[in-house]
Amino acid sequence: MKRKFGVIISALTVTSLMLSACGGQAPAQAPSENKTPTAPAATENKPAPAPAAKPAASGGKVEIFSWWTGAGEEAGLQGLIKLFKEKHPDIEVINAAVAGGAGTNAKAVLASRMQGGDPPSAFQVHGGAELNTGWVAAGKVSPLNDLYDQQGWKSKFPKDLLDLVSKDGNIYSVPVNIHRGNVIFYNKKIFDNNGVKAPATFDEFFAAADALKAKGVTPLALGDKEPWAATMLFENILLGKLGPDDYNKLWTGNLAFDDAKVKDALETFKKTLAYVNKDHAARNWQDAAQLVAKGEAAMNVMGDWAKGYFTTDLKLKPNEDFGWVTTPNTGGDFMVITDTFALPKDSKDQASAKEWLKVLGSVEGQDVFNPLKGSIPARIDADVSKYDVYGKATIEDFKKSKLTPSLAHGSAAIEGFATQANQIINIFVTQGNVDQALKSLKQAAEANGIKK
């Protein structure tokens, strides 16, 4: 009899939980959140705080969702949380980070939480299509125009960058950092010993690669066990061949994917692949960067998180052990990957969440986070002296370069297209069939609604 009752009770609990979830109310708090001795039950039943610009409801709670669990980025996030706690000791912070490179696992968790009506207070999202065609189009995030006006942020971030986080005149997230995607990192000793100079154009690149290959050095390290690394190499060649204007036209459907210039880029990509390490399919990006660090390969095309990997994890010195140069023909361009935070529409305690966003968008917050993470600040008025030699140079470049969104990191096009593009590139790396790849890219663009 006892067992029967237990089962019935649990069945009832489950059913009532589901019912309450269906009713659009927040489900009961998970018991894992019993860190605070102050009874949260009383505050929870209160109606949502008034939207007035009060300095945050006391005793509030922010749950911050990100995929920052790697060495430098976790330290950066902890720095931000510490800064936030100094300013708002009365608000409890829950760090809901989900591990997994490039946020794959985190995005899956986030999607189920958002759709299940249990959103975090603020969540990490790449600026660009990932935000705009994803959460904004689904109507799941709140516009932040009032916050931008109140803080006077509209003049503090580059306009190109704000365009990446805006749709139809509304701004939807706060950029925290900037990574650059179009960088070649090279082993300085190999370059010096073989008399090779950092290449600026495709001709120079292939000349350098030939010279290195003749000496028995692997010219280019690639690790495409996760296919986005190959897509990244391709998008940089695409940018170099098309230039920033035509490159940006691809994502609005103003330039077709079967254009002759795209074909040229694919052929150059194919040519480049002849210079990569044989075991590229067994390596991830760190393994590929390691080849350069150890002197087994000369160059690696990677976002500048590789710089953080070199300096923090492998203890290499910039300009001494490794050097960097933009990928061929992209000297004036900046392939931008920006981590931003957005505010879910139906989260509890929006006032506290906005306080968190204020810290993220402040000069202070950006200068705490970015030196640790190895990225550069998204604001144009941050304190340059806090950054290393690479950071300083990149901050300067960021101010004068044309910004282009990265396809491999979800900023350029809707996720559905990005995933299909990864598949097409993965097949192309082995088969090298240019016409087939062009055809598939065009089909994928059509299927995902990339048109004028």
Binding site: T133, G134, A138, A281, T419, Q423, V429, Q431
Partner: protein, 293 residues
């Protein structure tokens, strides 16, 4: 007594299977929910897809190799251990032990062992073999028969994955067979020996037929592991160059959670369910019949 659990299973298993089936007929392929019905077009697109065709080929090849090799090795080990050798318990435990690991651990270990530049190839090179195998990075397919979008045949890379899976599961096959062997009465063996059967003939004509029910169960269990495999591949190789080691589970995960193509993910799930049903349903039917008798 049964009703509460029936309700729960009804909701959380069959309810969601039905929901997945429904989603697979919709146009829901981004964050924006779109429940417009599109009939079988998601399935039609899948069967024309290079990646999905590769997945089907890989699953077929992997399943055949995995089941056959696991069963042969399992039977061989069981026969060896069954000879009442000294230290039988020790050997039994050694062979079963890999089963205690999760496929994730197995995947990571074998990813290192079979890494073409750092793993077992270093030993092969030291032995003077110049042309070392490329293991799971090989893009070779034997033989290359053009079929639909893909080249049909055995992808060499999938052999590496099968080695890892066999390593993990052959101990389990041994344990099953060992139980079966202990159930064969000594009278039968004696009788066969009296009739003049040698060791080999005894195994072939008496023991293997007696082990048939065990073999059937093993095939069912191994097939459903193999058809649904995800974790081993995800940890060890990922989809692989040109999708030589991709399987439906990995494709489903990526298209659903990376590409937000929920309709396509649901279609793949339904196809996987049907594939497993091909094995499970006849088994269930036959076991139900037995119960009635």
């Amino acid at each position: 007594m049964l009703i509460p659990s029936l309700v729960l299973i009804g909701i959380f298993v069959y309810g969601f299977i039905a929901w997945t089936g429904f989603v697979s007929f919709t146009a829901w392929k981004s964050m924006v929910k779109n429940m417009k019905l599109v009939g079988f077009s998601n399935y039609a697109l899948l069967f024309q897809d290079f990646r999905f065709q590769s997945d089907m080929r890989n699953t077929l090849m992997f399943t055949i190799m995995f089941i056959a090799v696991t069963m042969v090795i399992g039977l061989f080990l069981a026969l060896m251990v069954d000879r009442k050798v000294r230290g039988e318990t020790f050997f039994r435990n050694v062979f079963i032990f890999p089963m205690a690991l999760s496929f994730i651990v197995t995947g990571v270990i074998w990813q290192w062992i079979l890494n073409p530049t750092t793993g077992v190839n270093l030993i092969l090179k030291a032995l003077g073999i110049a042309d070392v195998p490329q293991w799971y990075t090989s893009t070779n397919i034997i033989p290359r028969i053009q079929l639909g979008q893909i080249e049909f045949g055995l992808p060499v890379a999938i052999i590496a994955v099968a080695i890892a899976a066999v390593w993990q599961m052959s101990g389990f096959a041994m344990a099953m067979y060992l139980a079966g062997l202990r159930g064969i009465s000594d009278d039968l063996r004696e009788a066969a020996k009296v009739d003049g059967a040698g060791e080999w003939k005894l195994i072939r004509k008496v023991i293997i037929p007696q082990l048939r029910p065990i073999s059937m169960s093993l095939i069912i269990i191994l097939a459903h592991i193999s058809l649904k495999i995800f974790d081993l591949i995800y940890a060890m190789t990922g989809p692989g160059a040109m999708f030589v080691t991709d399987v439906p589970g990995v494709y489903m995960f990526e298209t659903t959670f990376r590409g937000n193509n929920y309709a396509q993910g649901a279609s793949i799930s339904v196809i996987m369910l049907l594939m497993v049903s091909l094995f499970i349903v006849p088994y269930l039917v036959s076991s139900m019949r037995k119960e009635k008798m």
